[in-house]
């Protein structure tokens, strides 16, 4: 798909996506559409963010400089009766097409090649003759990578704790993905579908991002609103296009958050649209199974029982991975992150905090810090004495809150109790036995 079209699509969904405006501007700049580029830069500037301003300024500078260079190149090329497109690249030179080069070299030019072993003509005569300088065109970087502007790639190193989970994912997914040869030899597929399930707020999305980071793949998060359309058949087409785009950008990770929404059990709903979407999803997943290389489809859900059973069969989301509530190490890390940007008074013992927040999800911990901050603000308003968040504030909030994961665990507990004959939820059963 054309990049400009992609950015425009992104902006259609969210006009306040300033990063998309910026990328669009960059793309227009590369294509020399000055007016469009300026408009898009102006839109990107609407975000009141110094970083963005800096990037836009850099872009604008490049725009004017590129324009000047272009003008120079055009002028110079014109002198010799050539079109600017005919100005050759360094690559062409290194491939030794010196006859062609002869047509574009300037008499006064000096050839500046850093390495002698470039395979160029070492002939002295040739050397004398070909003292060339390569013209710099406006299109220095032909490709604008979204990765240049996106936040840094997340990997497992960014996920605190959860070593068991990381090890499982590495063995089940990352290794097969990275060395598919061994697996194909044994008729094992390296891509396919993975279903991450677990209590809400425990970082399933982050883990999926980290998985993509680990395998060095493009990450495509998909939201239901990107698929649904009121017109007949368009939603199914949108879903198909998403898979197409991901296939075209392999290695890629396609991430469906809340997969129980898109892949809701057809036994539980009579909605025609829902049924046809699940059918399309099944077809797409099936085709991935046939053509698995370097495409992972990850689904995440709090309610795996709501996902259509057909989606959990072999060939679709056939690997189910339980993402448990953060362990002690992870909780310490989350506290550290969440408290990092707030004023803290006295010693805050992360060890104790992590100890006292067993079964708390990442979102719960964030909430604890939020509540503690609110408490401190209230106290400052009352007393007029400014202070930071103390250990006592945090402990008080912890004493007043309960982990939100318990409800989920109680549901799944009964599920395992009454019907885990297929062993689908063995991981969660083990977790409950171990920690509850």
């Amino acid at each position: 798909m054309d990049k400009i079209a992609i950015f425009k699509m992104m902006l259609e969904k969210d006009k306040e996506n300033y990063e998309a405006w910026f990328l669009l501007a960059e793309e227009y700049r590369q294509r020399d559409s000055l007016a469009d580029a300026l408009f898009a830069y102006a839109k990107a500037l609407e975000k009141n963010d110094p970083k963005m301003r800096e990037m836009v300024i850099r872009g604008l500078r490049a725009l004017t400089e590129g324009g000047n260079k272009q003008e120079t190149a055009e002028g110079q090329a014109d002198v010799h009766g050539l079109e600017p497109e005919q100005a050759v690249s360094l690559e062409d030179i290194t491939q030794g097409s010196c006859e062609d080069i002869g047509a574009v070299i300037l008499p006064s030019a000096e050839m500046q090649l850093s390495r002698e072993d470039e395979g160029l003509n070492k002939d002295k005569e040739e050397s004398k003759k070909a003292k060339i300088r390569v013209l710099e065109g406006g299109k220095k970087h032909n490709v604008v990578s979204i990765g240049d502007y996106l936040p840094e790639r997340v990997t497992f190193a960014d996920v605190g704790g959860l070593h068991e989970l990381k090890k499982t994912i590495e063995m089940k997914i990352i290794k097969p993905f990275q060395s598919p040869g061994l697996f194909s030899k044994f008729q094992k597929k390296s891509g396919g579908g993975i279903l991450l399930y677990g209590p809400p707020g425990c970082g399933k999305t982050f883990i999926a991002q980290a998985m993509a980071g680990e395998v060095g793949a493009n990450f495509f998060p998909v939201h239901i609103s990107e698929i649904l359309n009121p017109y007949f058949g368009v939603s199914e087409k949108n879903l198909h296009h998403i898979f197409e785009t991901a296939r075209a950008s392999r290695p890629a990770v396609l991430f469906f958050d809340e997969i129980d929404t898109l892949g809701y059990s057809r036994l539980k709903s009579g909605s025609d649209l829902m049924r046809s979407l699940v059918d399309t999803l099944l077809t797409e997943m099936q085709s991935i199974n046939m053509n698995t290389d370097k495409l992972l489809v990850i689904g995440a859900t709090n309610m795996p029982w709501d996902v259509d059973p057909a989606l959990k069969r072999p060939g679709r989301f056939d690997k189910m991975i339980f993402v448990p509530p953060p362990d002690k190490e992870a909780r310490k890390r989350i506290f550290q992150l969440k408290l990092g940007k707030r004023p803290v008074a006295g010693l805050v013992d992360l060890e104790v905090l992590a100890e006292k927040t067993v079964h708390y999800s990442g979102a719960d911990i964030e909430n604890i810090v939020e509540l503690a901050a609110e408490r401190v603000i209230d106290s400052i308003m009352e007393t007029g004495v400014e202070r930071g968040i103390t250990m006592a504030d945090l402990l008080e909030v912890i004493a007043e809150t309960k982990p939100s994961t318990l409800e989920w665990i109680s549901i799944v507990k009964n599920y395992v109790k009454y019907a885990n004959q297929s062993g689908l939820y063995n991981e969660v059963a083990d977790y409950i036995r171990k920690y509850l």
Partner: protein, 297 residues
């Protein structure tokens, strides 16, 4: 994208999310619609349903009234207003809403069936029957109507009607869970707890977050436990009252025949049976089941 297209798109998302029971997830999309058009009747109605799910019934009714004022379908809006009153046990107000809805749409089978349910709960069983018959006349294949009919036949203990209604649900219903639950209840009321449990477990597996389904499974487990064998036997003999009467008669006869030793044995055995059934067995069950539960170890 123009406003109408935007609203249509958001409504499609909301419609979908409602069809998969994700009501809370629909809220941001509803807010998007209402930002563009604060009196969008369908969005107001959908939002009313969200508030109904949150058990905020006052707000539910307010939004339904807003939807009505802005031209929303009266059948749906009055139905939800009535249901919100019912949840607060304000039955006369609920009846008034149903009647207003029926006045606006006299051919609504769903409103007839829902009004019949209200009449069932409030003790007007003949009226409930008549309303259900009318609903069946209007739309015999409507799932809400069939479900209400099944519930009525369960309450009436009319097995023939139960079978007919369940058959109809199997043919016309699209919600598998509801079908299985009704089958489970059918067997439960018949005293066939084994079959009832099988269906209840099937339904529970599809919707483990549903506490009512868990209670149904546990109820079947309770009834099927060997500890309650005497209780089941008493049930098969005609119930506690019949057994009590029989034992009482036997005791009188034994007393009349001056068979004091046998009389004492029968009397104390009966007392022991009563104590076992109503006190010992439930306590033992609680202890054993808790002991067996792997999660309580």
């Amino acid at each position: 994208m123009d406003v109408t297209a935007f609203i249509d798109r958001e409504l499609a998302v909301v419609d979908y999310l409602f069809s998969v029971d994700k009501y809370e997830e629909a809220v941001p999309h509803l807010q998007n619609i209402l930002q563009q058009n604060p009196v969008h009747p369908q969005a107001l109605f959908f939002l009313a349903l969200v508030y109904y799910g949150r058990e905020q019934f006052e707000e539910t009714r307010r939004l339904c009234v807003d939807a009505l004022v802005n031209g929303f379908d009266k059948e749906g809006a009055y139905g939800v207003i009535a249901a919100a009153y019912e949840k607060e046990y304000r039955y006369p107000a609920a009846e008034e809403a149903y009647l207003q809805g029926l006045q606006a749409n006299p051919n609504s089978a769903v409103l007839h069936a829902d009004y019949a349910r209200l009449m069932m709960v409030t003790g007007f069983w003949d009226k409930a029957r008549a309303l259900l018959n009318k609903a069946m006349e209007l739309e015999p294949t409507n799932q809400n109507v069939i479900n209400a009919m099944i519930d009525f036949s369960f309450a009436e203990m009319d097995e023939k009607k139960q079978r007919e209604a369940i058959q109809s649900l199997m043919e016309n219903g699209s919600d598998e869970i509801k079908k299985i639950v009704k089958l489970s209840l059918y067997h439960h009321f018949k005293g066939d707890y084994k079959q009832a449990r099988e269906y209840a477990v099937q339904a529970f597996l599809m919707d483990p977050a549903n506490r009512n389904l868990l209670a149904l499974v546990e109820g079947c487990d309770y009834a099927l436990h060997p500890l309650f064998l005497p209780r089941r036997l008493i049930g098969k003999l005609g119930g506690g009252a019949v057994v009590f009467l029989a034992i009482f008669t036997v005791l009188v006869l034994l007393a009349a025949l001056n068979l004091d030793v046998i009389l004492a044995i029968v009397f104390y055995s009966f007392v022991a049976l009563v104590l076992y059934n109503w006190m010992v067995a439930p306590v033992l069950y609680h202890l054993i089941v808790r002991g067996k539960d792997p999660w309580t170890k």
